[in-house]
């Protein structure tokens, strides 16, 4: 008898504990107000401040009002994320893998294949329903831009723009060094000569080009790709569908890094190896310590924008830009004289959302002409809708016109991010002096071959 009672009370205690754990979350009332969450790497007064301002002063109030007019009570909550892109990606991966996360997430296009491969993202038409296909916006967004958040024919979100990459330079430092403006180098030697002149003129960091794993994808895009493409080929051979793991071009690219960071110390290797290097590079550029910085147009329209955390009030006078030259004229990818590479970002809907139709309403509203125009006024950028023009920034327009015809993209493959990481590591080993370019390329070759298999790599013989 006593035993039974004890057993019963133990059972009761256990079940109470389980109940407390499992059912503590309040059940969502069916017809009550809906709360949507949206998140991005954006902080009021910090990184991507414009996005916060746009969302909180324009998108959210107008959307809530629009929904109220339709008789639906919807509240939208912005969750600001202050870490790096890599940390945001980690957060998403972990959130989604346990079936949680925010309803709408700012997303980098090159993450999509990996997340889809893992089953963590679902096509919009599956998450929301076939009504997504009837949205008016698709007719105004080019297939190329739609594909930014697409993979194997499905679309997972709405892209909000693409970007291009180039060299930014400080006109005041160039004048100080007696370099003629406007400046446009036509070979790597031109770039290096300019850096040497700046060094002679006392510029502390003549040329900074991203390297190392701490900067994550910024290293691959703004750094490694810009020199690799200039040396003649891509990371991936799109005809044979194989990864290029050893080639004269890779060696040229690494030797360029070695010249800049090790042999002549034209750049600051320390900044590339410490944790917060990219932000440091923004601050050093703002403070007039960096002469040339290879970056994406985001640097122009957000980082340097007057009023931003690391902005310059007289940006348009102090910051010039030039196309990144190939090693020699005609020696670049596709025999180009100049090279660039583009990525793209946008917003996806979390497949775990409890309110898919409200989330879609918000996402499609954000991407409709009026809000997009409102954002263009705050931060002119390459517009993703053909019915919204770049709002009054001739520099942004000129960059887009000059570089979009030259640009290329990353391979949309689930294994890309891992190979990109190995490329970052390869540059890190060269700029830290740990390995010679030859050794670093050998290590890259081994690592990538291990990742994708011998049958998926090619090696271009060295002369």
């Amino acid at each position: 008898m006593a035993k039974t009672r004890l057993l019963l009370s133990v059972l009761l205690a256990v079940s109470l504990a389980v109940a407390a754990l499992g059912f503590a979350a309040p059940a969502q009332a069916q017809d009550g107000p809906v709360t949507l969450t949206i998140t991005c790497r954006c902080v009021a007064g910090g990184v991507n401040n414009n996005l916060v301002v746009w969302l909180t002063t324009y998108v959210i109030p107008n959307f809530e009002k629009m929904m109220a007019d339709q008789g639906r009570e919807v509240k939208v909550e912005l969750v600001e994320f202050g870490g790096s892109d890599e940390q945001l990606k980690e957060q998403y991966a972990l959130d989604l893998s346990v079936g949680s996360g925010y309803d709408i997430m700012a997303f980098d296009g090159f993450w999509v294949p990996e997340f889809v491969g893992a089953g963590l993202l679902k096509p919009l038409s599956e998450v929301v329903g076939p009504e997504v296909n009837e949205w008016e916006g698709w007719g105004h967004i080019s297939p190329g831009i739609q594909a930014i958040l697409g993979y194997q024919g499905d679309v997972y979100g709405i892209a909000s723009g693409t970007d291009v990459r180039q060299i930014f330079y400080r006109t005041d430092l160039f004048e100080q060094a007696g370099i003629e403006l406007p400046w446009q180098p036509t070979s790597w030697e031109d770039v290096l000569d300019t850096a040497r002149k700046l060094k002679e003129a006392g510029v502390p960091i003549p040329l900074q080009i991203n390297a190392g794993t701490a900067m994550g994808e910024a290293t691959t895009m703004q750094g490694y790709f810009m020199v690799l493409l200039g040396a003649g080929h891509h990371m991936y051979d799109f005809e044979q569908n194989k990864w290029i793991v050893s080639s004269p071009a890779i060696l040229d690219a690494l030797n360029f890094y070695k010249t800049v960071y090790v042999d002549e110390e034209l750049g600051d290797a320390r900044m590339q190896l410490l944790q917060d290097g990219r932000n440091r590079s923004f601050v050093e550029f703002r403070d007039g310590n960096i002469g040339m910085l290879v970056e994406g147009d985001w640097f122009w329209r957000s980082v340097m924008a007057p009023g931003s955390e690391t902005g310059l009030e007289n940006r348009n006078e102090l910051v010039g830009w030039a196309k990144m030259p190939a090693k020699e004229p005609g020696a670049g990818y596709n025999s180009q004289d100049f090279v660039s590479i583009s990525g793209g970002t946008g917003w996806v809907i979390n497949p775990n959302t409890e309110h898919p139709s409200e989330a879609w309403a918000l996402l499609s509203y954000m991407s409709s002409p009026e809000p997009v125009r409102a954002f263009e006024l705050m931060q002119p950028r390459i517009s993703f809708r053909d019915d919204v023009a770049v709002a009054g920034d001739p520099v942004m327009t000129a960059m887009a016109e000059a570089l979009l015809p030259l640009t290329t993209v990353r391979p949309m493959l689930p294994e890309y991010p891992q190979i990109s990481y190995e490329a970052q590591l390869m540059t890190e080993r060269v700029v830290s002096g740990e390995m010679t370019p030859e050794e670093a390329m050998q290590a890259f070759d081994e690592a990538v071959t291990e990742l994708v298999g011998e049958e998926n790599v090619i090696r271009i013989p060295l002369q």
Binding site: K3, L6, L7, V10, E86, E90, A93, L94, S97, E114, F115, G117, A118, G119, L120, G212, T213, A214, R270, L273, L274, Q275, P414, E415, P417, Q418, Y421, L425, E428, R429, S432, E434, A443, E446, E450
Partner: protein
Amino acid sequence: MERRAIFSAKVGFLFLAPALAFVAVFLLYPFVRVFLLSFTNQTLLGTTAPNPEWVGFDNYRRLFDFDRWMRLGEFGSALKITTQFVIGSALIGQVGLGLLIAWAFYRKKGVLRETVYTLVIMAWIIPETVVAFTWVAFLDRDFGTLNALLDAVGLGQPDWLFKHPLESIILFNSWRGAAFSLLLFSSALETIPPSYIETAEVAGANAWQKFRDIFFPLLRGHILTDLILITLWTFNVFTPFLLTGGGPARRTELVSIYTYRTAFHGQHEFGKGGAIAVVMMLINFALALVYLSLIRRRRVHG
């Protein structure tokens, strides 16, 4: 006379059940899970996330690929750095510092002792992230407190976290964890009968002789316990990540950071991460065995 238990064995088991369930759910299950995981190519992202394959000993083979084992960012290098870190910060730093302070304040009272003890214990109990931020601020090349002091006396501004990253985290961890050894040794010192010391003093022993012939032999057991516990803890510590992120160029990549980077960063290779965890578990197990056998020998011979 037959001894009767108050409860039957079954009821006894019932009382144990919650604890056993706890151990099973939070220790045994994860261990088995990690062990099985280490034989797969499971990742968090990519196609191997939903459909992992059994890869046998591949992950282990990759860990012990001796062609690149000692390269920065590989397992051998992480083990080497961890060993240096343990010897520097635990065995020399924490144990040495704890012993030194405990001995310096032996049989002393007063404001100085209280102040030193409070500071050492504070360093131990402040949350890790807070401590890490203060140390980053302390060691920064350009704006750090340490360099401001050094510069003021003309010693220049060394680039601590960049040029001397391993030394920096060793210094940090010695400072951070000295309290445990200090507390252990100061309470152990209390057990030494004052008459021993007084006799030695009458005989004219100097400080070193007292330490060598009285304190050290009597404290040997405590020192041993302390050494092994601290080694185990330091072996698995992760906080230096908050100072250096394992860098620059993986020069401070401890095994814990290596595991984290493999499993939860970039690649999200759960399979390989699991293999590292299993090897770590074996190393910890070996250390624990050494500890237990030494304790047992002390009981027998002590």
